[in-house]
């Protein structure tokens, strides 16, 4: 049997003294991470003895807190070495009970601040999982329902996926990699493992002061990976130094955002990634050299993926050995994935070169006055008008139109919110009249978000009448 990628990644010759992760003002070398992993593996081995009565033949399932990236990575390697199932757990924001109902973990870990080689292990007293476990890592996703469910994946395959994405983007051109995402999220984990696979020190910027940004990017050819809005904010935050590379993941990177970044940092290489948790991470990549001519596209499928468009629904479908084995659902049931093509839920097209272009989620296309409208198009056109303001467009029910587009825009109170007439005039000059949102609402403070960080669309939809109309 082929050696595990994790084990080969930990056993292959590395520069032990090189920095693997820096976080909260501390740096951890490769040797420290691997040493910690071995120590934790011993701890896991001892714990396993106490679990036999509870789990039967299943491997133990453990919640790995993600708030300390170095400890998280060491624990991830240790869990893989001991045959445990890892559940990355965003301990800073999600209570364990929210995860427990779906994946029924047996244990949870706690690391003291700055300690990565030992943890306290707490046995969980929730009902044990009934049935056969699948995969060796479970990524939590709230999906579109807001109900957390676990996606059963294989860590080696996530590592391979990170490796191929990094190779396509040639991230070895960087001397370091910076992220500002929780590594318990799929995109954060992907960036962390990409840096690990390419021996790049991973700088975790969260919880650092504003000066950490300038300092990090002044140390050499450091790349940055984050959501589209993070890329734009990073550009606004830096005064002098610039990232050599910027990689967007998570939400869709709009062409106007690419222009904003490149206007500020013309020498920065901007790459776009499109991925889904169910596909083990990244699905498509649009490297910089091709992105400039096709800013609206999601990219070419990465090695190991095939893509097609459903003739019936227009939704992009993917096929890959990296596809999840299935979902751990609330209530403790496991729903296996059917063999074959996986529906991404994203409407799009594939051109003769195989380049995938997205036109929005399948449920993002709706009819206003009998004509098709997709909210994504409206959001893209609003980007230049609302560069530093959070907003989203959704279809809402309307007594007279059946459905209509509603714009939700955050009012921070700073006075930079355009007036209703300005928004209408801006969109009218760019789009067919049917795309003008029939309703426009102000949201005080921030858009509601799910634990995954995604906008809570259902909450906005169901309560849209409670918001104040934009004047």
């Amino acid at each position: 049997m082929a050696a595990s990628v994790v084990q080969s990644a930990s056993l292959r010759r590395r520069n032990g003294a090189a920095t693997a992760i820096s976080s909260r003002g501390k740096s951890y070398s490769v040797a420290e991470i691997l040493k910690a992993a071995k120590a934790l593996a011993q701890q896991f081995s001892q714990v396993r003895q106490n679990l036999a009565a509870r789990i039967g033949l299943n491997p133990p399932c453990v919640l790995l807190p993600s708030s300390q990236p170095a400890a998280f990575l060491a624990a991830l390697i240790a869990a893989r070495m001991e045959g445990f199932i890892s559940v990355p757990w965003r301990d800073a924001v999600i209570p364990p009970d929210a995860i427990a109902d779906a994946v029924r973990p047996d244990l949870k870990l706690h690391f003291d601040e700055g300690v990565i080689d030992r943890c306290s292990v707490k046995m969980l007293d929730s009902d044990a999982f009934i049935g056969e476990r699948h995969g060796d890592i479970i990524m939590m996703t709230s999906g579109s329902t807001g109900q957390p469910k676990g996606v059963a994946l294989v860590l080696d395959q996530i590592l391979l996926n990170a490796l191929s994405a990094g190779a396509v983007m040639e991230i070895w051109k960087c001397t370091g990699w910076a992220i500002d995402i929780d590594v318990g999220l799929m995109s954060g984990l992907n960036h962390l493992l990409m840096a690990w696979q390419f021996d790049l020190p991973c700088h975790h910027l969260s919880a650092g002061g504003d000066d950490i940004y300038e300092t990090t990017f002044s140390t050499g050819a450091v790349g940055f990976g984050g959501s589209p809005i993070q890329l734009v904010r990073m550009g606004n935050r830096l005064d002098s130094s610039c990232p050599v590379m910027m990689v967007s993941s998570g939400d869709f990177l709009m062409p106007s955002m690419i222009d904003q970044v490149l206007e500020r940092f013309p020498d920065t290489l901007v790459h776009k990634l499109y991925g889904l948790t169910e596909l083990g991470g990244r699905f498509c990549c649009m490297p910089h050299q091709f992105l400039l001519g096709r800013k609206e596209s999601a990219g070419l499928p990465l090695p190991g993926f095939r893509a097609r468009v459903s003739a019936e629904t227009g939704v992009i479908e993917a096929r890959s050995p990296l596809l999840t084995a299935g979902y751990y659902l609330p209530g403790g049931d496991f729903s296996p994935m059917k063999d074959g093509w996986f529906s991404t839920g994203d409407v799009g097209s594939i051109d003769a070169d195989g380049v995938v272009t997205l036109n929005g989620r399948s449920n993002d296309v709706f009819k206003v006055g009998g004509e098709k409208v997709d909210r994504h198009t409206i959001e893209v056109e609003l980007a230049p008008l609302l560069p530093a303001i959070d907003y989203c467009v959704l279809a809402v029910e309307h007594r007279l139109l059946g459905q209509c587009a509603a714009l939700f825009v955050v009012d921070s109170g700073s006075g930079d919110l355009p007036k209703w007439a300005e928004i209408v005039a801006h969109l009218r000059s760019r789009l067919h009249p049917r795309f003008i949102p029939s309703l426009m609402y102000k949201v005080e403070g921030a858009l509601p978000r799910l634990a995954s960080g995604k906008i809570d669309r259902e909450s906005l939809r169901s309560s849209h009448l409670s918001f104040q109309r934009l004047q």
Binding site: G369, G370, E371, L400, G402, Q403, A405, P433, R434, I436
Partner: protein, 80 residues
């Protein structure tokens, strides 16, 4: 009985406040294609139509196609 011509004139008077005053709002003026009205103004026009014509419109009773001009709108409403 209200004639189609009466309905047409009433509709023109309902729509007029929602379009640029400098436009000459003839019965066949292209409301949608000219960009004179959009989804936002459409809702307000529908509400005004309900009130002024004493009709109850249901979800998606009127399409963008029927909003092409005051005449097409009158034709659609005369059957309500």
């Amino acid at each position: 009985m209200t004639s189609n011509e009466d309905i047409l004139n009433e509709i023109i008077s309902i729509v007029r406040p929602f379009v640029d005053p400098s436009l000459e709002l003839t019965p066949d003026f292209a409301l949608i294609d000219s960009g004179a009205i959009d989804s936002a103004s459409m809702i307000n026009i529908l509400l005004e139509l309900e009130g002024r014509l004493g009709i109850q419109l249901g979800a998606a009773d009127l399409t963008f196609e029927q909003f092409q001009s005051c005449r097409t709108l009158a034709g659609a409403l005369s059957s309500k």
